[in-house]
Symmetry: C2
Subunit: 347 residues, 2 copies
């Protein structure tokens, strides 16, 4: 899996400069579109085009189960992972509705669940095992499984690029995966469990105590691995989180901008950046979730989220909700008239 | 103009209840869509429908000139108001691009400029005078002009409703109008000029001092009028701001939800609420701008903006940028499967 260390695509300072120049000529007071101007300029550099465009977003949802549910960390039974995979594919989940709204290329990838996933045209079967092991007792996955999960992230990005995607949104589903994400973030940021564990999809106070205890146990058990982000991911990650990590790295390597969703995707981004810091320019952060620890994670990444709506659903939903802002940034940049074109005085 | 005091439309608690019930049945952890859930529930109550929809937004841009520019408060010459009206109509302005993105019914209304506005299919000629008078020296407009401007806001809302609009976005253009908006907000909130005057479209430090001085002079001059929001609007407002005020009041009276744009629209909303507090439930606030004083204004209204992107352009641009979030809220509410429909366990 040497590919994960390959350098990310180059950012074109020249196209950033051209885009910045164009922004100054558009019929508006300088800087008055705020963050939308910066987004357009950044995308110009990434896409090596003075006229950046986000018109063909692709969404890939990675789903998997987690052995750590044995610790009582989730309010939902593990059957829900499979049920939600089918709900994604059948069009009834939040991300299904949002994918339609933004016209995204959409697919669900079964990375390995405790219960079998029926075949469906929109579901790719790519299980690397029947869910991870309980990382309170051993590494969550083997090195072979990690390699396979990272490679699945890589190949799904290669596919969406072939299909013409101009932006990648990763999503995830997996009962128990906020616990895995929190553990991963604790290890990457060297923080205690209490700083990053939140209620997730909605455990009560007793459930929250169990989550914190489970993460603390796992951090003690695996501490010797913490020098190496790859080992951290193997010990504490999930199959879907590793696939996300691989997809973010591959996107950046192939020059495809990424819109990172919420807390779990953020933890995958943290792992990806730990493994390969060169990918940072390619990551946009969609939203600040209501999940405790997400703010801390975003701050650590020096990331400014596009929206802050108290969402805590995952699935890539925050990414899809925020996508129209990136599109607006590009369309404003490309379609607005210049002062000269419109005959407007520059003041 | 007695109509401005007529009560706003009723909010249906029964439809809010039905929508809340549906939200609890959708395939997601309770509350996990955060603000998007609250928006859908609120819209259900406003639209008297358990399945609220925002699919036909209408944008009306009111433009006018301001006598207070004589005080040197703007970085742009007054010609720009007319030039930008034509830019709106010709499709080259930010709001023109955004109106296309969201598929909005779009029109510009000339409320009265210092220079003549050429005829154009997308421009309604409704001038109530050649710009306001300098409110540092006298009331900005006569009672007759105020009445006419409010009535134009009313009639444009009546028109968009007839055309099938399900949401109203007001926008504005007028060199000098952040000074008018700041003065208005100071008078309504009983605050000194320094609290609410900002750089607007981009004056320098000297320009900022002139703006503060102008607003302070105006506040002293018109203080006796401050008991009555209608008089405040007449003394310190602009024709476009009064039209916005009228449009917000009429929208609420006719049961049409409003998405309030930035600082200037916020000042118009403040005036509208001062005149007719019953309209509050009908107002959604699109964004927090970079304009100083806007945060203060939003706090005074107890308003939570949908996005915060450091925009400070006006034109209704923040409203159009935020609109997809309201649409996402409605579509998620209407199109997601329930636990029963999808066969997902409720945990």
């Amino acid at each position: 899996m040497q590919w994960i260390f390959d350098k990310a695509g180059e950012v074109s300072a020249e196209h950033e400069r051209q885009a910045r120049e164009r922004q100054a000529e558009l019929t508006k007071p300088p800087g008055s579109l705020g963050l939308l101007e910066e987004l357009a300029i950044r995308l110009a550099g990434l896409q090596h085009s003075a006229r950046p465009r986000i018109e063909r977003p692709a969404i890939r949802i990675y789903a998997a189960d987690h052995g750590v549910v044995a610790e009582g960390v989730s309010a939902f039974p593990q059957e829900v992972t499979v049920q939600m995979i089918m709900n994604f594919a059948n069009g009834g989940a939040a991300i299904s509705v949002l994918a339609r709204q933004i016209g995204a290329d959409f697919q669900v990838i079964n990375m390995g669940t405790a219960h079998p996933v029926p075949d469906h045209a929109l579901v790719r079967q790519a299980a690397v095992g029947p869910g991870t092991r309980n990382f309170c007792e051993s590494a969550a996955m083997s090195r072979g499984q990690l390699e396979q999960a990272l490679a699945q992230g890589k190949s799904s990005v290669d596919e969406v690029i072939k299909a013409g995607a101009d932006l990648f949104i990763g999503g995830e589903m997996g009962i128990g995966n906020t616990t895995s994400a929190a553990a991963l973030a604790c290890a990457m940021l060297d923080r205690p469990a209490a700083d990053l564990v939140g209620a997730g999809t909605g455990v009560d106070a007793a459930g929250l105590r169990k989550k914190i205890a489970a993460v603390d146990r796992a951090l003690s058990l695996h501490r010797t691995a913490f020098g190496d982000p790859v080992s951290i991911l193997m010990c504490l990650g999930g199959f879907e989180i590793a696939a996300l990590t691989g997809s973010y790295i591959r996107s950046a390597q192939q020059g495809l901008p990424v819109l990172v969703d919420g807390f779990i995707c953020g933890a995958a981004a943290l792992a990806a950046l730990g493994i390969n810091p060169s990918i940072r320019p390619w990551l946009f952060f969609a939203h600040q979730s209501a999940e405790q620890g997400h703010r801390l994670l975003l701050n650590a990444l020096n990331a400014r989220p596009l929206v802050s709506l108290d969402m805590r659903l995952g699935e890539g939903s925050g990414g899809a909700v925020a996508l129209p802002l990136l599109q607006a940034a590009c369309r404003l940049h490309n379609q607005m008239a210049t002062f000269a074109e419109a005959g407007v005085s520059e003041g």
